[in-house]
């Protein structure tokens, strides 16, 4: 007998429909799966056999052929265990019902028949929200993410026996609903705060500007000066994610299987800090069946690269294109996928191998050649994409022990929100949102200089030897500073502050 079950797979970040067809015929018993399955799916034969037997059903001693249609799309993951098992039960008349036709069934099976969580439950729930058939039977552990989607009815499946009884009408399973807005609010709380950081006021100011204009930042300072601490608190001053952004980010995390099980939705901006031994594929995403990498996991959030020169050179260079396009396209034999990668890059590094080059108290023992070699790991084009360079100096005793009220993250965030609002209004007809993405053509239109500002910039170019590249960056950053100031034209103070954020460019990279 033939049975057809609707299921889904997630190549990339959007689900596509897969029909699981099972034919059971007489003849020499065998069990085969066709339709470009990967190893995990081929192995599912053994899981399904045990799961069916251990759930109290008979496994047919027949010729079983499973087809995963469309046959030309490569399928991966163990999510087809449950639909295949259900299809076998239907084909052997164990389930005498048509009810299964209304559901999209996904789930991995354990040998005892328990349904285990799958990757990508959220994209599945999202892609079928507009479809006519919008009931999904999803593993119990994935219900949090799937239940967020209002238009989709998500039914939790705990084990194969229960699913069979449910489809036979003997047991009632209720679709679970979660109020996304409430969950969103609950999850968006963060423990970290900028007021935890003592001193470093100019760095905080720099990060505020970076957050306002979505500029990429480079923090340079001796060890222990608080670079990582500051960077970790950057997400707390970025304006809150809206629900669409949150869904985008959660989708990527769902595909990677990284959604926290009880949470279901990522509401706080992600902060990813991969170790510097990371490979290029782990950063950009990759694999035979491409998986999202760190830059995609940091989508709508912050990617923090600590000890930037320690990263392998090719790893750093692969980030250049996604930093421009805000997406990453991965091409493999299995197919070409595009993952979103709109993130703020925050990099931290020491000024030299020993770390004390800019430290007034400790002597640096590196030779100029060593420093040169260390710094040359960061290529011009990459440096080009880091708009703001901040020097994070060592704190002295007074600064460390001073008990003064510092600004909290929410105070800074208010200003950031205002500046971002101004940009959104200004660029509503453009294809981008923030100052960081201004091209030279648009710079002319949006960065009108006052006479004083013009003078200052001229002087900077002549005296400080600013390059054309640096000129553009200064204008962009000055634009953001003016937005924080709620000023239309760029004034001298904005320009001078912006020039300050390029100084390291000259001091270190000559």
């Amino acid at each position: 007998m033939l049975a057809k079950i609707n299921s889904a797979c997630v190549p990339g970040i959007d689900a596509c429909r897969v029909t699981v067809e099972v034919d059971i015929a007489n003849g020499m018993p065998s069990f085969s799966i066709v339709g470009l399955p990967d190893t995990a799916i081929k192995e599912s034969r053994d899981r399904i056999r045990s799961a069916i037997k251990n759930s109290g059903f008979d496994f047919p001693t027949k010729r079983i052929t499973v087809n995963l249609a469309p046959a030309d799309v490569k399928k991966e993951g163990a999510g087809f265990d449950l639909p295949i098992a259900v299809a076998i039960l239907v084909a052997t008349n164990t389930l005498q019902t048509e009810k299964y036709k209304d559901y999209i069934i996904c789930g991995e099976l354990s040998l005892n028949g328990e349904v285990k969580p799958i990757k990508g439950a959220l994209p599945i729930a999202l892609s079928f929200s507009k479809a006519r058939r919008n009931k999904i039977l999803i593993p119990f552990d994935n219900i949090q993410e799937a239940a967020i989607v209002k238009e989709t009815d998500a039914y939790p499946a705990a084990n194969l026996k229960e699913v069979a009884d449910f489809l036979n009408g003997q047991v009632e399973i209720k679709p679970k609903k979660i109020d996304a807005a409430r969950l969103f609010k609950k999850n968006s709380r963060c423990r970290l705060d900028f007021s935890d950081v003592k001193g470093q006021d100019h760095v905080k100011r720099g990060l505020e500007i970076a957050a306002a204009g979505s500029h990429n930042v480079l923090l340079i300072g001796p060890p222990g000066s608080g670079k990582s601490m500051l960077a970790k608190r950057l997400p707390t001053i970025l304006s809150d994610m809206n629900i669409e952004e949150s869904l985008e980010t959660s989708k990527i995390h769902s595909v990677a299987g990284l959604l926290p099980p009880k949470k279901g939705l990522i509401a706080a901006r992600p902060f990813r800090s991969p170790h510097h031994t990371i490979s290029d594929c782990a950063l950009t995403g990759g694999g035979t069946y491409p998986n999202p990498g760190e830059i995609s996991l940091a989508h709508n959030g912050v990617l923090f690269l600590d000890e930037l020169p320690e990263f392998k050179r090719n790893v750093l260079e692969v980030m250049r294109q996604p930093l421009e396009d805000q997406t990453i396209t991965i091409s493999r034999v299995a197919g070409t996928l595009t993952y979103p990668a709109r993130f703020m890059l925050v990099a931290a590094m020491n000024p030299c191998p020993c770390g004390f080059f800019t430290d007034p108290k400790k002597e640096c023992r590196c030779t100029p050649a060593q420093i040169q070699k260390y710094l040359s790991k960061i290529s011009g084009p990459l440096l080009d994409r880091l708009d703001i360079h901040l020097e994070v100096p060592r704190l002295n005793y007074e600064q460390l022990t001073k008990r003064t009220e510092t600004e909290t993250s929410s105070q800074i965030k208010e200003r950031v929100d205002r500046a971002r609002g101004i940009q959104r209004q200004r660029y509503r007809k453009e294809g981008f949102l923030f100052n960081a993405f201004l091209e030279s053509k648009e710079l002319e239109r949006y960065c009108q200089l006052g006479t004083e500002g013009q003078e200052l910039l001229k002087m900077a170019i002549l005296e400080l030897g600013l390059s054309a590249r640096a000129y553009d960056k200064v204008l962009k950053v000055a634009r953001t500073i003016a937005d924080l100031d709620a000023k239309g034209t760029l004034e001298a103070c904005h320009i001078s502050e912006a020039i300050g954020y390029r100084s390291l460019d000259r001091n270190l990279w000559v």
Binding site: A25, N26, G27, M28, P29, S30, F31, S32, T61, K62
Partner: protein, 137 residues
Amino acid sequence: MVLQYRVPDLNQIFMDNKTLGKTGEDLAVRFLKRKGYTIIYRNWRCLLGEIDIVAREKDFIVFIEIKARRSLSFGPGYLAVNHRKQSKLIKLGQAYLKRYGLTESPCRIDVVSIDMPESGADFEIELIKDAFWENRT
């Protein structure tokens, strides 16, 4: 290395492998009949080889491989049905089904494993139903 000699069991000298197989098959047939199998063929042969027993149980045509062992020093009998033997049995089964036009009937392969230390003594007989499947990928 110390070589260990053991005086061979008289039974092992007098009973060659052929007789052992034959005795095993007789035992198995008796056993299967008691289990409700109807024996269709003993030693069904074709160009590919031989099936020890072809039987019918309920709706199933059952191909049965018998493995008799004198001692367990090489492991139990059913372990001797290795991958090569399995694929051979599958081919034989298919040939049988084809010859008698039974390709549409349910069938399976069982293994009977007999452990008989010496003739006349107690022996152990074990039936493994649906022992293995054709391995298509």
